[in-house]
Amino acid sequence: MSDRTSADATPPSALGDSIAQGWSDRDELPPADWGRRTSSRRTGTVWLFALLITAMAMAHAWLTDELTDQAFLAWATIFTAIAFQALPFLVFGVALSAVLTAFVPASVYRKFIPQNAGRAVPVAGASGAVLPGCECASVPIAGSLIKRGVAPAAALTFLLAAPSINPIVMIATAVAFAGQPEMVLARFVAGLLASVVIGWIWVRFGKADWLKLPSRTHAPGASRWQIFRESMLHDIMHAGGYLVVGALAAATLNVMVPREWLLAVAEAPIISVLVLALLAILLSICSEADAFVAVSLTDFSPTAKLAFMVIGPIVDLKLIAMQAGVFGWRFVARFAPICLVVGLASTFLIGGLLL
């Protein structure tokens, strides 16, 4: 026993390694030891974190002032900014989703959301216009809606519509594009249209087994608060880890891709739309802020800016990573391309009509 404890507590070369190591070792031990091994694992975990905190304190004392590379610091700033900007939304989203899971009985959804998936989709799209929250919040909420028996297509429509057309986003767009109400209208119509059409496509072609959803049937004895706690923990751990992946990718691209490259293509009519759609995917800016970035891309056409604001809330690196955490990669590999294609089609249509 004592060797095991010390083995767990030795400085790991990497966090994941030490944990994986612990797992495979334990397969060889006899069942009688299981209870004790758990307590030694706990001790090991606590030691690991103690070590980690000590290492951070030492690094804080000696390393912090040595980090002076400008490009690295700019990258770190943007990474931290994305992560902490999303944190309140993530916590709000998982808390709301935990409330839905623990305190709202499934019958309520059956009352308000039509059973027929085809009719539920527009209802879900319209309800996206009511609930403020950005994409980080809507991923766990959509997950818990599906678990509560809402048709997946409707929950996915909500997932797309909520960050695209919620009141805060519309106000931010109106502020950014002051004097251009047609841009606000175009964003609302194109975002809603794309969400509803994607929902209908999912009704028609979607398969249930593409969605990985933990079938969390809670023990009968669990109190509502325990379910609430477990649901929040589960969602934060799944969506949060991937949020960090998305923030890492977005910060890297934000620092590495020079703006001049973008400006070089701003003149070409269709290509410029595609380039801004790609930029929206790469930058992963929160939908409540993307209008301000769009308005700053002054060399691009209004339709290209619309693409930036329609695609950003429905497909971006951060979202893809978070959706993978909640719904699985099999889902994302199908869902993200559909969103991109439908979002672009909607942009060209509405942009052509209104802008």
């Binding site: 023990a219 325990q226 960090v244 890492l248 020079p258 301000f292």
Partner: protein, 281 residues
């Protein structure tokens, strides 16, 4: 990742959010000041959740939940973290996870995926790197100002410090307001006015002049937009990223306002300031 690790990670993450907001103003380097209360709230909730998870785990509470939930093939393991029971069937579960994603078995929710360890990265970022506000590096690498807004030339309808100030008074303007006026105010109301601007110095890479710049942020540093003015003065260019309050006047351009790439500002007086509490505007 077992439950103790999950709880401790949440406590550290929440502590990082609280450290950046309550005892320090670090968060202003990354997000809008308005996010402060939300970050405090999110940090507090995260810490609380982490503590609750650890307490429940130590009291062995989740053991009961897991036991009644475990499928028969794993029911022999009654460990509080559900982990050891998971071990025996680990290979099998991994195959299932590859097929259906890691929730395939539905009973393993006491474990978090390995990717959750990444939640410690923002913690490292706050405590070890403490990233500073974006500065001259960003101004240089984005190639200067964002350019004039595309709207039709406007006159009047501005809602900034200049509108409210009396004619003779020195007007303290945001760099953002200044460049906006400079580009689109066809009435050229700024001409001949005494103006005060605050920003950081960005030495000109090619010449020996310098720019006074300020980053405009809508939400977080990822969407920061550069606003800068070219400074016209006799003194030597100050060190990059030093903060200055300058008093002077707009150099009115000859031709079309929107054709100017960087508007110029003639500085009469300049004074170094310690970094303003909020580096963005």
């Amino acid at each position: 990742m077992n439950r103790i690790a999950q709880g401790l990670t949440l406590v550290l993450l929440g502590a990082a959010a609280l450290t950046a907001t309550v005892p320090t103003n670090l968060y202003l380097n990354w997000v809008k000041a308005g996010f402060g209360p939300f970050l405090v709230g999110a940090g507090a909730v995260t810490v609380l959740l982490g503590v609750l998870v650890i307490v429940a785990e130590l009291r062995g509470e989740s053991s009961a939940l897991d036991q009644s939930e475990a499928t028969p093939e794993h029911a022999h393991g009654a460990e509080p973290d559900g982990g050891a029971a998971f071990d025996g069937a680990r290979e099998h579960d991994r195959a299932v996870a590859e097929e259906y994603g890691d929730g395939g078995h539905g009973h393993d929710h006491s474990r978090a995926p390995k990717v959750a360890w990444l939640l410690l990265l923002p913690v490292f970022a706050v405590f070890v790197i403490a990233p500073p506000a974006l500065g001259s590096y960003t101004v240089e690498s984005t190639g200067g100002s964002s350019g004039p807004p595309p709207e039709e030339q406007s006159s009047g309808g501005f809602n900034d410090a200049l509108t409210e100030a009396d004619a003779g008074e020195t007007v303290s303007m945001a760099v953002q307001e200044f460049v906006m006026r400079a580009w689109i105010d066809e009435d050229r109301e700024m001409a001949g006015r005494d103006i005060e601007l605050t920003g950081f110095a960005v030495p000109d890479e090619e010449g020996d002049g310098w720019y006074l710049a300020r980053l405009q942020m809508a939400c977080c540093a990822a969407d920061a937009v550069v606003n800068r003015v070219e400074v016209v003065d006799d003194g030597p260019a100050p060190e990059a990223d030093s903060w200055w309050t300058v008093r002077g006047s707009w150099v009115e351009p000859e031709g079309e306002l929107s054709d100017v790439s960087d508007h110029q500002f003639r500085v009469e007086e300049r004074e170094e300031v310690t970094d303003p509490p909020d580096p963005y505007e």
